[in-house]
Subunit: 241 residues, 2 copies
């Protein structure tokens, strides 16, 4: 936690917020904070700044908050991701949030085991918790939107073409000839398949919707590695487009 | 496992190998292999190709092996990594192996908790097992070298300058002005700090040894995310230098 992310409910007055739970534990155990210390804070979907610890005990901390720094720029990237296996899903969510992805669509695909959709990590509170961890890691405040589409064909036929109008599409596909482009200066939509990849029917449907298949070279990467590799290649994190 | 990696001990004749243990379980449970099937195989530090399953039961599989494809190009990159916390270390090892890092140095740093050095994942067999998992994931055969240096200063003063003669050095450091370069066409050494970063004394020592501090932007990334982001930025996985 490189930033304590405060929600509206944490504020008791416009410049005072109360921390409890996980963030209070972090204050005690990791930061060894004391009254008078200043910690980095941010307001959900708002500015970032500092919080001065004015009172602190085992049940709550009160902070005097000054927020004057805008959050880092969002990535101009929509990610369409075949639902990963649960143990990987949590980390991928946190990674996406850390990297500045603000628009994530989780879709079904032939090689997504139906059981993956049963994971409790898909419940709204769990999604939020993991996205908050990613934002707090990276020092960002802007909550990503996550949409769930459990049927491949209706999503690709009815919704994807609309997304691609604003953000042209790429599909990461090891079987193709075109290397993934670098350093885009425009927004994009990136489709990433499951372990084992999209099947040819799915690549055809994605292509028909307007996506261009691209590859990352000979190496087959796990989804949790492919995501940061692809994003780092598409956009310059140091100077976001 | 996108490739079954065979060691010398697995070969019973020059073109016949026997699988047992984890790889046999994978053959049965994931691939549902049968006699006559062909699976992708590689020889440790050698070529890749195919293995035809000639006999198969619950205790062993025998393969007729043909190896005529060279492994993917190695990354021309030496990574100097402050020892990560154990639960992250295993994944980082696998990721490094998947991405083609062949030269890894694990070093101490002020913010590395001494307990991290006690992890059983540092034992030679455990290191090898995790590197093999990364190679099998990516379809590579060339085992990375891992060297362990539990004292920062002697490494940086006595060994690092020699490494930098062949491979100029960068140190990932959020506090600096220079963005991390892209698409290098020469070999390099990349130093990556622990959670919380290298302390100023350490950055000074690394700089004195010849490393250039570079940053990745405003976002603070976990080591397991920073590694693929940095590597993808430095080298084009599709067409390695």
């Amino acid at each position: 936690m490189n930033l304590a992310l405060l929600s509206d409910a944490d504020f008791v007055t416009p410049d005072r917020a109360v921390l409890t739970g996980r963030r209070l534990t972090h204050l005690h155990e990791v930061l060894s904070a004391r009254t008078g210390d200043t910690i980095p804070v941010g307001r959900l979907n708002g500015n970032m700044g500092t919080g001065e610890v004015t009172t602190l005990d085992d049940t709550r901390a009160e902070l005097r908050v000054a927020l004057d720094i805008p959050p880092p720029a969002p990535l101009p990237l929509t990610v369409v991701l075949a639902m990963p296996r649960p143990k990987m899903f949590r980390r991928v969510l946190q990674t996406m949030a850390s990297l500045g992805v603000k628009d994530l669509w989780l879709i079904h695909s032939y090689k997504v085991d139906k059981s993956f959709w049963q994971t409790p990590w898909l419940e709204e509170d769990a999604l939020t918790d993991n996205l908050v961890l990613g934002l707090e890691q990276a020092r960002d405040t802007v909550m990503p939107s996550v949409r769930i589409r459990r049927r491949f064909k209706p999503f690709v036929e009815d919704e994807l073409p609309g997304l691609l109008e604003e953000r042209p599409g790429l599909v990461a596909h090891p079987g193709t000839d075109t290397p993934c482009p670098r350093n885009l200066t425009h927004p994009a939509t990136l489709c990433i398949g499951p372990e084992g990849g999209f099947i040819p029917y799915e690549v055809d449907k994605l292509t028909a919707a307007g996506c261009h298949p691209v590859h990352l070279g000979d190496r087959i990467l796990r989804v949790e590695t492919a995501v940061p590799v692809l994003i780092s290649r598409l956009y310059d994190a140091a100077e976001p487009a």
